[in-house]
Symmetry: C2
């Protein structure tokens, strides 16, 4: 064994091969470590559960605090447990131990879109991200109180007859400057004049599609993918071709290549950062290949970047940052990272930007200036960044608790382990029918988002998306755990 | 002379023929009345100007206060002067003494729309309603301070994870209930479930056109008419047929009938209440005939009702109130009556309502709930109604001052005298070219809206719209008075 690197690294190496200079001298911490490991393996403490406190471990094992901490830190360094500030140590998620979804969609010829009516029912219940949309639990977090204060200050700052003027179509320059700074931290230094403020990401996607497509054009999308895109294609009378997509690595670029060779495709919509429903993260190599294909086939690429700021680690660079050919339209909003009630998004329209600006003007005139200024202030004083940091920890915990609960189901299932986004993709055994389960669950006040909503071809009937956007309090956890008995089997 | 009617009426009748029982007994007030009348005729006090105060008149004419008041009240009863609370008596506008615009558009075959680029320049300057958009003068009026407070309270009232949910696509029920009550006062008792909240009237018009038309369809519009509609038709690739429109009585229904007989028209967009650019008010009889034509030709009627609440008197009933056949889509917003920065409007979509709801959902998901709740509170506590009352007096004064200034121009002109809306339509002698005048005025920081913007056929080059949305402070008045020297003549 060679000792290299930092102290932690050294311990990992020792942990791996089980030998080391300390072994003979002091192995009491190793005994505790083995005991804890065995407990995790036997599910005495399950995924996401808290281990006994340091104090309890000291007492029950007659060990010093230093020894106990040493054992716990070794488990943490191996990624088996996770330290949470002021809360203790928790059994960590082992992504590789989770069975990942395997079902794939097929390539089929382009077709018009007809969206399932069920989706309107779900949207009408504001329930796309919540099993129990009527719950509205929890407190208003301090970061949202701060946001609202910032908006209130902007309102009070209105002067003269400001309220008598429409904002410029591109949006408030102060907000665009803050968005530009925010993007620059992700490796994309977009000038403010290449940004246009919208009423959310859906509005941005709508403007993007209006700008680069005409009725009847073929648009390639991820499958499973975002239902909102399918609804847009339906309303704009565009045809869709679904590209098989992994819930781990995103759109299958080889499948896309096959699609582009067989049919004339006008645009491709992708979410390289944590695509819904499974939270897939597209590798850099796929991004490069996608852009090369887009150039060769003269494709507009619409990047839905809305989940970037829900990254559990650091947010990946957007595809747009690699766009040398001015053909990637980036769409995003604050709805997933900050508040769904702001209705503020943005679009950077590449070669279609002027047309997008005009469409924004014509379809909506302008956005609220006071609101944009309030959000710009919130970003400028660092509140947004610290909100994202706090939220990151919450989301990781919620994701882990969700996956832990799912792993305990007796139905057997496969589940995605996303590094960002707000949901996991669950694949049940093929005998299950989530679409048929919807009304049964609804009777119990539980709203599920069945797999077929994420495709136009009726696929994924044994799948569903489950969100971790909301805290797992007792009632929501109970709803989650009731799901298996509400599922209909064929 | 026959004495009939009320006291006021009696006085008017006496004033008209110059005789009466009081004549011999007390004619001192008649002497003052004649002296004031002569002064108005000789323009010693011009239209919109203040007459000497009661106190001054008492002193200079050695008259009692009662006698002076009597004389002024007689002039007021004749509509020659106007009493303004706490301000005194002003020379009133005599609509019949103003020369009205006469130029009419021609009926031409349906055509695609190509909107003048100039319009984008004007919109980019937020200048469609202001000669001096950089001025931003005046104080924030108390009613807007109250509005902002109401919105701020709604923000602070957010609880739990409210901010994590999208609002229902139709909008907040509290706001829709208030809108329903507001409409009921105008003779249109719309149930809240027939209203959908939008991001302003332009967004409502966009949804309406998307819902009832397909690319290539022919849409009949007012000419001169609202440029925003022309922009929409251009972007949606609809064809336009312009219907000659009077700036006093609105769309010429006989011309519309001719149009409908010659071409297949899918929809007709009208503003019965104070159509821009001239503020035309459509008579009830025309409304009935329009609806009968719509039924006969199976037409969708899109009613742009945005100016209703800018009525100088009481707001007329909407066309929608007479809609027995579920084919009038009403579109409106708070932008002209309350604040352009709210970005809140509404649509009632008749037989197309479900499709409009779906389009709203798909293109924008939802509106901000806190904002809608803030505005609903503002309406519920009577603040909106009292704002409208206060604004009505301001707008009348601004309109009168504008027309008075225009009447003093040496160019010679005709001008509309609207009973609502925010602008007048000015027709200069035909040697003038307002389109060519635009860049010249812009050099001086003055933004005009030339007549050709209100049509697709390049007509109305000698016309322009001038708004009275903003107060006539010294700088804006100076800009207005400089216009004649900035106009280019052919």
């Amino acid at each position: 064994m060679i000792e290299i690197g930092s102290g932690i690294k050294k311990i990992i190496i020792m942990g791996t091969d089980g030998r080391g200079p300390e072994m003979g001298a002091d192995y009491r911490y190793r005994q505790l470590e083995s005991w804890l490991l065995q407990g995790i393996e036997e599910q005495r403490w399950r995924l996401g559960e808290r281990l006994p406190s340091i104090r309890t471990l000291c007492q029950e094992h007659s060990l010093s605090k230093a020894t106990v901490q040493h054992a716990l830190q070794r488990l943490e360094a191996q990624g088996l447990v996770e330290a949470r500030p002021k809360s203790g140590y928790f059994v960590a998620l082992q992504p590789n131990a989770v069975k990942k979804p395997v079902s794939r969609s097929r390539i089929e010829a382009p077709r018009p879109v007809s969206v399932n009516e069920l989706l309107l029912d779900i949207m009408g219940r504001s329930a796309a991200f919540d099993l129990l949309p009527d719950l509205h639990a929890g407190d208003l977090p301090p970061s949202i109180v701060a946001l609202n204060r910032s908006i209130g200050r902007a309102l009070r700052r209105q002067k003269g007859d400001d309220y008598q003027y429409y904002d410029a179509p591109a949006g408030d320059i102060g907000l665009r400057e803050q968005l530009s700074l925010h993007s620059a931290r992700r490796g994309w230094a977009v000038p403010p004049d290449q940004l246009c403020v919208t009423s959310g990401c859906q509005h941005a996607l709508f403007l993007a599609l209006m700008a680069c497509c005409e009725r009847g054009d073929v648009v390639a999308v991820e499958s499973p993918g975002f239902y909102g895109v399918l609804q847009l294609l339906e309303q704009l009378e565009l045809r869709v071709v679904e590209v098989p997509t992994s819930v781990e690595t995103g759109m299958d670029i080889e499948a896309l290549e096959e699609v582009l060779e067989r049919w004339k495709v006008k645009a491709c919509i992708v979410s390289p950062a944590f695509a819904t429903p499974g939270g897939a993260l597209m590798p850099s190599e796929s991004k490069s290949r996608l852009l090369a294909l887009a150039e060769r086939h003269d494709l507009a690429v619409i990047e839905d970047d809305i989940y970037a700021d829900t990254a559990l680690g650091s947010a990946p660079d957007p595809l747009k940052a690699m766009d040398r050919d001015d053909r990637v339209i980036l769409c995003s909003s604050f709805s997933k990272s900050l508040s769904r009630d702001l209705r503020l998004g943005w679009v950077s329209g590449a070669r279609w930007h002027d047309r997008i600006l005009r469409l924004k003007l014509v379809t909506q005139l302008a956005s609220s200036r006071y609101l944009q200024q309030g959000v710009a202030d919130y970003m400028a004083d660092g509140s947004f960044a610290s909100h994202l940091r706090r939220q990151r920890n919450e989301l990781r915990e919620r994701r882990d608790r969700l996956i832990a609960s799912l792993q305990a189901w007796s139905t057997g299932l496969r589940v995605s382990v996303p590094l960002g986004g707000l949901a996991v993709w669950v694949e049940l055994p093929t005998s299950f029918d989530t679409l048929a389960s919807y009304p049964k669950a609804l009777e119990e006040g539980v709203v599920i988002t069945p797999g077929p909503l994420f495709s136009v071809s009726g696929q994924f009937r044994n799948c569903l998306r489950i969100s971790y956007a909301h805290p797992w309090d007792a009632r929501r956890t109970a709803a989650l755990n009731r799901l298996p008995e509400l599922f209909v089997q064929l």
